[in-house]
Symmetry: C3
Subunit: 327 residues, 3 copies
């Protein structure tokens, strides 16, 4: 696909400055520009690149002032960052979408597959699974028996949906398995990254609500629930039966103890350890155990001074004792 600067400007309501017929067929970062590419400039830190970029066209904000002429063609718009995101979405929609069940996938006969579904090579869809319309299951995804996946869901390669929850009861000789008889329900518009694991519940369902976005290598244990539009970065781990509210954001490598509740719109920093229920909407937490971020960073700044503080404390004790004696 190829477009001219003018065509792009017309699409997004921008104004061309330079060669209206400059041709573009790809995107590039401004600092890695090349002929035929469109770039964008939004962060002022990158302004120097406008004078040296090899990209044919650069989207810039209306208010950008040039210090001297540039080689590339500019398209001026109200908000260059938003416009490039829109262009990328348009571009992605024009690209041929992966569709159909690959002949190398395994789909159990009892599975119910919706319309416009993509199931990639070596994906494995178990008995009585249901998969909604418009859903994309990338290669090597495994969906265990009985799980339900909604519409417009994307699951990236290697993720495992519905493996047994981790439940064992000790006896004198070892551990007995507690059967995991529940399933997993993934609602509409969820995206799940690569090699993420969502375990089936002991009874009832592990539930990932509408619009949730999970990154790669995440662990969601049995009986967990993740509220609508909550976003989790890579390598987060949730222990069993924990419920996270809607519109939360969770940083990478954070962990949640089992059987706790996280309120809606809670922001959890990377590498945090959350071990108890959270109070309410909009709370921010970081650290392990997780506390208020301002307090966390202040306390961590003092941690570095702890050896000095320890010495000072001992010095004060001595001096005080001497003062007492000398009285």
């Amino acid at each position: 696909m190829e477009f001219t600067a003018k065509q792009i400007a017309d699409l997004i309501g921008g104004r061309v400055e330079g060669n209206e017929n400059a041709k573009i067929n790809t995107f590039a970062k401004i600092e890695e520009g090349k002929e035929g590419a469109i770039s964008f400039l939004s962060n002022p830190k990158y302004t120097p690149y406008i004078y040296e970029t090899k990209s044919s066209v650069v989207l810039v904000n209306n208010d950008l002032e040039l210090e001297h002429p540039v080689a590339c063609t500019l398209i001026r718009v109200e908000n260059a960052y938003e416009c490039v995101a829109k262009l990328m979405q348009m571009y992605a929609q024009m690209m041929p979408k992966k569709k159909g069940i690959d002949s190398l996938a395994f789909v159990a006969k009892s599975a119910k597959i919706g319309k416009d579904v993509y199931i990639g090579p070596f994906a494995c869809i178990g008995e009585n699974v249901t998969i909604g319309d418009g859903t994309a299951i990338y290669p090597h995804v495994v969906v265990y028996d009985g799980c339900k996946i909604g519409n417009n869901v994307t699951i990236h390669a290697g993720s495992v949906i519905g493996a047994d929850g981790f439940g064992f009861a000790p006896n004198t000789e070892g551990y007995e398995k507690i059967p995991q008889l529940g399933t997993v329900v993934i609602e509409d518009d969820v995206e799940i990254g690569a090699n993420t694991c969502i375990d089936r519940s002991t009874m009832g369902q592990t539930i990932i609500h509408k619009g949730v976005k999970l990154d790669n290598l995440i662990q969601v244990a049995h009986n967990c629930e993740i509220g609508e539009n909550t976003v989790m970065s890579a390598q987060v781990g949730m222990a069993g039966s924990t419920k996270i509210g809607a519109w939360c954001m969770v940083g990478g490598q954070a962990g949640f103890a089992g059987h706790i509740k996280i309120a809606d719109r809670t922001f959890i920093g990377a590498q945090s350890g959350v071990i108890s229920n959270t109070k309410g909407n909009g709370e921010q937490l970081i650290g392990a155990p997780a506390i208020d971020p301002k307090l966390f960073f202040k306390a961590q700044a003092v941690v570095k001074r702890l050896p000095d503080m320890y010495r000072e404390l001992n010095a004060l004790r001595k001096e005080l004792e001497e003062l007492k004696k000398s009285k």
Copy 2:
């Protein structure tokens, strides 16, 4: 499969209170009850649900006292929690068990496969692998050449057994690979979750002893050894050559340095970092570096006060100096 309340009561030695012919065909949590389901009530926190549950039958403890009549049929037993676990195990045993080598699995000709084994679609069993009787290998598991897997082992989807240990020797130009010539041995009754990695040893064997239970996304490096009946939650990581004793419990996301020994029956909290040998049986550790849990939580409580302590220490210093001068 469908049972009456009376049939269930007879099976587990309970006493029916209500409709002996109430029919059940599934399990449900008491708070998510539905017609045809059996639930259980053990934790007093959930007692209010007994009056509103839609489950047809609820297993309760003998000593439960009702404040007013309930719609569901009760089965009274000595210990409702243990009884429901037993029922689930009976139910699981009646369900058709997955068996046989799926036609979409790859099994090398030189591999030796026991009786009553399940090997799922796209599982990949390398040369000279041995797999014991009654073992279940779920889809997408990879067992590299030469590894030995015992009887009644379960390995969930996407786990990788026997990939090369991470061993490289630096030279001036880069790193040279140290060949990983050993294997992995997994003894009887081990269960391994999804997407877990157990690396082959440099020489000799990485060993997972009898009855060990590993959750999802765990890393076991080359030359490690995990003792009988030790249990590890998801995302734990062990560096090379570390040996963990028997009957240990390890919380999620904990990490172990290489070349250390953990004594039997050690309890390691979630997200801990263990960097040295542990002392003896029954020790508890948490934090990074890991310390006694009581001390850890007391110290963490003080960490929050560190900015105040720092100010107070400076104030004391000033006041003491003034006091000295004023003498």
Copy 3:
């Protein structure tokens, strides 16, 4: 393959002490020795094993002094550890190397595959992927469309190269996906462990430079870059657009915030959290947030004493107030 002690000694320039015709066909650790095996002794901690090992031959340093005769044959060399590594490399080179594209792999027609490549069962190579000469792709690896993999690269089972980066823009109803239009480039001589994820970039490329070694279960987010010969242990996580220099070493479970730069030859301890640019060559960091290791371990030693310090601080305050009053 079988060799005599004399043949081995000639190969590595060593001197036989004992039976020149002792036969060996495998490697074993000295403490797990067995007939037909060659072991090595380098760390003095293991010297006692020389008197009881069942290995037929043991490589030892020239200066080893025996207290009494041993059953095994010795080969004396300048550096036993280096010699055994060399022997293992020779042995590995003699073993039949896996080659060819397995008939159970999926390789898109538009993919370009080099010479002497191994692609294992159920590996999945997308459209327009290029794979260089001598590269080994183990079973179940997924390489998404358009990614480039160099010469002599090794990727272990279950790793996912080129899944979508984690990019979403919030609107009032939920999150909109930001298309991930870039690719992943993996240069020559890189080794990647099992179940590791390297995401494609939003635009441009996520780049893993020459000679990098990544362990298992690592997360590399979109637009990241890892410099030549950098080594990362298992379960490390990098957030988006972070650039790590050359010859760095990163301990297990460490995490990097997004959009930061790590200088060449930086050493990052296990479980660290790096949240800002690092200063320069050779820096060492540990902790979360990461600081100088000496300071970290000193500070952590004081953390254990925090409850005592808190009490002492309060005591000092009281005593000081009394002293003031008594004046």
